[in-house]
């Protein structure tokens, strides 16, 4: 079972802002891949600085995934281009209602209203904010648990 893991634009600055100096994209990727493998899940980890690429991946590859982990992130330019709304639209159009989805944020976006969580209408989204790298691990474990419960 494939877990699609998408990381949006601005990850490097998000890591910096969160003060997670020991965390890098490479470390997140390695940790996610290892966590998936430990749980016999197939990892598909991706990151792009291009917000449209994230939306396109959702449109193209959601139907072949068993679960989705998404750290949407954003930049001012992406926000101005309607990134958040495009993500929600892509989820509403392409995510099956039963697809386990978890949205991860490294830091707690509610402290300074950095980001609004995704609000699709047709699928459930779990939310894990403020746990750094550990949030990714927990998200994969939670997705695994949901997949086991659904099967």
């Amino acid at each position: 079972m494939k877990v699609l893991m998408l990381n949006g634009p601005g990850l490097a600055s998000a890591i910096q802002q969160a003060g997670y100096d020991h965390v890098s994209l490479e470390l997140i990727e390695q940790t996610c891949i290892r966590t998936c493998q430990d749980l016999a899940l197939e990892p598909d980890f991706r990151q792009s600085a291009d917000d449209q690429q994230i939306v396109q991946w959702l449109r193209q590859d959601l139907t072949s995934a068993s679960a989705l982990l998404i750290n949407p992130l954003s930049t001012q330019a992406a926000e101005a281009a309607g990134y958040a709304a495009a993500l929600v639209r892509a989820l509403d159009e392409h995510a099956p209602a039963t697809l386990p989805i978890i949205e991860v944020h490294l830091s707690n976006p509610f402290v300074d209203a950095q980001a609004q969580p995704l609000r699709p209408t047709g699928c459930n989204v779990g939310l894990l904010c403020g746990f750094g790298l550990r949030g990714y691990v927990l998200a994969i474990q939670a997705l695994h648990r949901q997949l086991a419960a659904n099967s």
Partner: protein, 150 residues
């Protein structure tokens, strides 16, 4: 190291298992507590995990205040008070230990009056929408954080 944890549950969570099970599941709060207690058995560093529930806002505030003295981490599912209570926000601000806001469903996917949390800015992290399993995930991540694992 001797870790003390407190799980605070707000209004209507005493009805878990019977209230809107399609949203909140069929497990009772006692079932959830039993699983969390079993989970902490695997951590010799945890000396105490206390579960509490109240329908009264002030009681939740008092429990947070009392935790200041000797509790290392609070997991709080404040239920509907999440979206109304400045008093719980203030109490959480006064509490210097680790704190996680927990919800069974994801409030951001529900009615607009649940989209604002008065607690989220006063906690370290938020877990929502993972069902009742969120309690075990919260306990596990809280212990990890207290043990300084990343």
């Amino acid at each position: 190291m001797s870790i003390k944890l407190l799980v605070i549950n707000g209004p209507n969570l005493n009805l878990l298992g019977s209230r809107e099970p399609e949203i909140y599941g069929y497990d009772t709060l006692a079932d959830i507590e039993a699983r969390c207690q079993a989970l902490v058995q695997g951590y010799p560093q945890v000396s105490e995990l206390t579960f509490r529930q109240s329908n009264h806002e002030g009681e939740l505030v008092t429990w947070i205040q009392q935790a200041i003295a000797d509790v290392d981490g609070i997991i709080i599912n404040a239920g509907a008070y999440t979206h109304t209570s400045v008093a719980i926000h203030d109490a959480l601000r006064a509490y210097a230990g680790k704190k996680i806001e927990l919800h069974i469903s994801n409030p951001h996917l529900r009615e607009p009056f649940r989209h604002v949390s008065y607690l989220a800015a006063a906690v370290d992290g938020v877990i929502a929408g993972l069902g009742v399993a969120g309690y075990e995930h919260a306990v596990s991540i809280m212990i990890d954080r207290l043990l300084e694992r990343t």
